[in-house]
């Protein structure tokens, strides 16, 4: 990842901050989620906010963007105290927020989205020509060229995000807040986005950047503010802070061993063998094998077909090829059959495919293994509660009440609940897609340990991830996919980001090395 900001003088430290917060606190009922936060944003700096889930990042951001009112404390713009009546008020004062989720109308064009709600008119009719021209300019300014008349639905996630940023920047602005903008981007796309942020900073705009990815923060930020448990911990120059230091500040303890030690794989017979497996439109001719006690990584860019390959293998989408489980040829037509063969798949889309957000924790926990909780026709609710209590202990799920809905848990706790749900099936092969996406570093560590303990107990694990560091840290072997095909395998000392990028993108080793 290129260093963007390091030779950049991070704003003028003497000038009055564009946006400042002092003694900011926020309580919901009796629970204080933020207390006494101080923050100052200077023109022309990228100021990163980091912290674990639940540290108060999103609450702080919502207060700064006018979505929430602080319980105590003040906000000031250019040294003058302000009170936002709402997000529109904040926007009119030049503070814009780029949401983490893509909030665009999928059926409208790029230009229609950028000007949605503030259409340019000529008399009574829409002035499409002007809007298209200005939309093209706005997107071009962000370093991309997208036809303004293209329908958003047809764009890649990265381009949609760019459109969303262009939309946010279409109003006069002095402060831009990015809420985990790279959560669903590949390394290459992330890099492009960081360039965009660099461009914004160069215009003298103050950028507030919220992210879990510390390497990224190191690369782009001028200053870093760390929150923990709703409290301000530190604000430092990014140049003087390594990612490992950031992690330590975030969790309040040493993070030297984020990844647990790797166990030995005994090269016994493979538990899963795949040959010539094809998922139409997504993956072709996949061939690999997996051994008991092994953690096998799948790397690749988004769209390389990793998720689709496994959804095909498990019968969640159409696919065909040879599948052997424990030596016996088989084919799965739905998730139930795969589960019965001892294979579970934890979707990357926790909220869309993993958990019923509007149902309670108990219902979610036992959903896939409900047969184990029945006596006769009846569901044994006492047994379900018992299982929930056990899952809370075993997976360290933290919730203020066990009668919450799954949607009320933090991302990390949702992932733990999903793990607990699938482990109830007592699988032999566990496939985890993006195990730590949107999860704080403390929980990440717990999940890595859990994955390692699964392998140590003789289960076979497949980890699909866009975070190369994570794959290198936990896997014995990594297969890299490109354009629907398994383009290469790295293992042992060859497990480096550069080597993965070579296979994932097809660039030469020299180029890959220069990029990392």
């Amino acid at each position: 990842m290129p260093q963007h900001g390091n030779n950049h003088v991070g704003g003028d430290s003497q000038a009055v901050p564009v946006l400042a917060a002092a003694g900011l606190s926020k309580s919901f009922g009796s629970i204080e989620v933020l207390s006494g936060i101080a923050l100052d944003l200077r023109a022309g700096e990228v100021h990163a906010i980091i912290g674990e889930n639940g540290a108060g990042k999103s609450t702080l951001m919502k207060i700064l963007a006018g979505h929430l009112q602080p319980s105590q404390g003040t906000l000031s713009i250019d040294g003058h105290e302000v009170k936002f009546t709402g997000p529109v008020d904040a926007e009119q004062r030049g503070i814009v927020l780029v949401h983490q989720e893509i909030l665009l109308a999928p059926h409208l064009t790029v230009a229609q989205n950028i000007f949605l709600g503030r259409e340019i008119r000529r008399g009574l009719t829409l002035d499409d020509r002007t809007m298209n021209r200005r939309a093209a300019e706005a997107v071009h300014e962000l370093g991309a060229d997208v036809e303004p008349t293209r329908v958003v639905e047809r764009l890649s996630i990265a381009l949609r995000q760019l459109v969303q940023i262009a939309r946010a920047l279409a109003v006069p602005h002095r402060v831009v807040i990015f809420d985990e903008p790279t959560a669903s981007l590949t390394p290459v796309e992330t890099d492009a986005l960081l360039k965009v942020i660099d461009t914004i900073r160069a215009k003298g705009i103050a950028v507030l950047y919220i992210s879990h990815r510390l390497n990224e923060v190191k690369a782009i930020a001028d200053r870093v503010t760390v929150l923990r448990d709703g409290k301000w911990i530190a604000t430092r120059e990014a140049a003087a802070l390594e990612p490992i230091d950031m992690a330590r500040l975030m969790v309040g303890r040493d993070m030297a061993n984020l990844y647990p030690p790797k166990s030995q794989v005994t090269q016994a017979k493979p538990v899963l063998e795949i040959e010539g497996f094809t998922v139409p439109g997504h993956a072709a001719n996949a061939r690999f094998s997996l051994h008991a006690g092994e953690i096998l990584g799948f790397a690749g860019l988004i769209g390389a077909g990793r998720t689709e390959l496994f959804e095909g293998l498990l019968g969640l989408r159409p696919g065909s090829g040879t599948v052997r489980v424990g030596g016996a040829a088989t084919a799965f037509h739905n998730a139930r059959q795969a589960m019965e063969a001892g294979i579970v798949y934890l979707s990357e889309d926790r909220k869309g495919k993993g958990l019923l957000l509007a149902q309670d924790l108990r219902t979610n926990l036992t959903l896939a293994a409900l047969d184990r909780f029945t006596s006769g026709l009846l569901i044994d609710k006492a047994k379900e509660w018992e299982a929930l209590n056990r899952a809370f202990g075993q997976f360290d799920i933290r919730a203020r009440s066990k009668s919450l809905l799954a949607g009320q848990l933090s991302g990390g706790n949702q992932q733990k609940l999903l793990l607990a749900k699938m482990m109830l099936l007592e699988p032999k092969i566990v496939i985890i897609d993006e195990p730590t996406r949107g999860i704080d570093i403390g929980t990440k560590e717990q999940i890595y340990r859990f994955i390692a303990s699964l392998a140590a107990s003789g289960k076979a694990v497949i980890v699909i991830s866009s975070e190369m560091q994570e794959l290198i840290g936990v896997c014995h072997r990594i297969l890299v996919m490109r354009n629907g095909e398994i383009a290469g395998e790295v293992s042992g000392s060859a497990m480096t980001e550069a080597e993965i990028v070579v296979h994932a993108t097809g660039v030469s080793r020299e180029v890959a090395n220069a990029q990392i």
Partner: protein, 338 residues
């Protein structure tokens, strides 16, 4: 994660239900019904007479029974607009069978006809279910189509007129199914209670019921959890068909005939009862007893309008229409508070 030291202490039982946990949305329809009853009494003291009340209950049996089936369909994220037409078709077919079958034993004939009716209900449900699952069509479209098909079939069978039970003896034997009582309780009321009990058991206590809620809550999550979404959806439409057939069994002895207007508008009343009862129209939450309550609310409103002199009972449809909108507004405002 087993390495994590000392997980926070957890009570080892299910959490005690506190009053804050009480879901106001589940309670709202019952409160509304109680308020309506009080209004009814104030409007006309005859409202509270046992005769009147048991009449109201008996008349609500058709919609209540159909609405229990609709609760399953809607909880699973579906919709069935064909229930009114289906009721007419089943009623007409059953009466034609009574009129034409060569069975001399009256009760044997009735029993065979009833089995036939339930079987036809299952068939109609399967047809709807196939369109939704195998055909992958929107439930609205599928059941809009079958709504027209079922009704048209009945009109064709009736040759544009009506189909009536010819045998007076048979009518006499069938009569108690609507007009009879058991220990003083009208038979239709017993049907409501039985259907609701079985429905509540299925939805709340069995794996199938849990799967219905999961499918309606998020189809993808259900699929990724190894649930056969198609089978669950299909079964909800079959249950709906059976419920329609049961409603017809109680309905036919009341008038002894089926015409082109039999069951007209029942689909809207059933959906209204379900939604007023607190079931989410987008799926995932189902409330059987709420549905029964919703069906009673509709019937009580009609009854109050008949007994009162303020509003013409011809406006009953308008009032029922307003009720569904008000119910949704109330539900949403209660949801926002929690």
């Amino acid at each position: 994660m087993s390495e994590t030291p000392a997980p926070p202490k957890m009570a080892n039982t299910k959490p005690a239900r506190r009053w804050q946990d009480l879901d106001l949305r589940a309670l709202a329809p019952f409160v509304a019904l109680a308020v309506l009853m009080a209004v009814g009494y104030l409007v006309n003291s005859r409202f509270i007479d046992l005769d009147n009340l048991s009449n109201v209950l008996a008349r609500s049996a058709f919609i209540a029974t159909i609405a229990v089936g609709a609760t399953f369909v809607i909880t699973a994220g579906g919709l069935d607009l064909s229930v009114g037409s289906m009721a007419a078709l089943i009623a007409g077919t059953m009466i034609l069978f009574f009129n034409g079958a060569y069975i001399t034993d009256g009760y044997g004939l009735l029993a065979t006809g009833m089995v036939l009716a339930v079987g036809l209900g299952v068939l109609c449900g399967v047809a709807n279910g196939l369109g939704v699952t195998a055909g992958r069509l929107e439930p609205f479209i599928v059941t809009l189509g079958t709504m027209a098909i079922y009704r048209s079939l009945l009109i064709w069978l009736a040759d544009g007129g009506s189909i009536a039970m010819k045998s007076l003896a048979l009518r006499g034997e069938y009569r108690p199914v609507y007009f009879g009582t058991i220990f003083g309780v009208p038979f239709p009321v017993i049907v409501i209670i039985a259907v609701a009990l079985i429905g509540a058991f299925l939805l709340y206590r069995t794996t199938f019921g849990r799967h219905v809620m999961a499918v309606g809550s998020n189809e993808d999550v259900a699929r990724y959890s190894g649930i056969s979404v198609g089978r669950v959806r299909m079964l909800t439409y079959v249950i709906q068909g059976v419920c329609v057939a049961i409603a017809v069994l109680v309905y036919v002895p009341r008038l002894g005939s089926a015409t082109s207007t039999t069951g007209l508008g029942w689909e809207l009343q059933a959906i209204t009862a379900v939604v007023v009862g607190g079931t989410a129209l987008r799926g995932g939450v189902g409330r059987i007893w709420g549905t029964i309550c919703g069906a009673l609310i509709l019937e009580v409103i009609g009854n109050i309008m008949v007994l009162s002199n303020f509003i013409s009972e011809n406006l009953v449809g308008a009032v029922q229409g307003a009720i569904i909108i008000i119910a949704m507004l109330v539900q949403r405002s209660l949801a926002r508070r929690t």
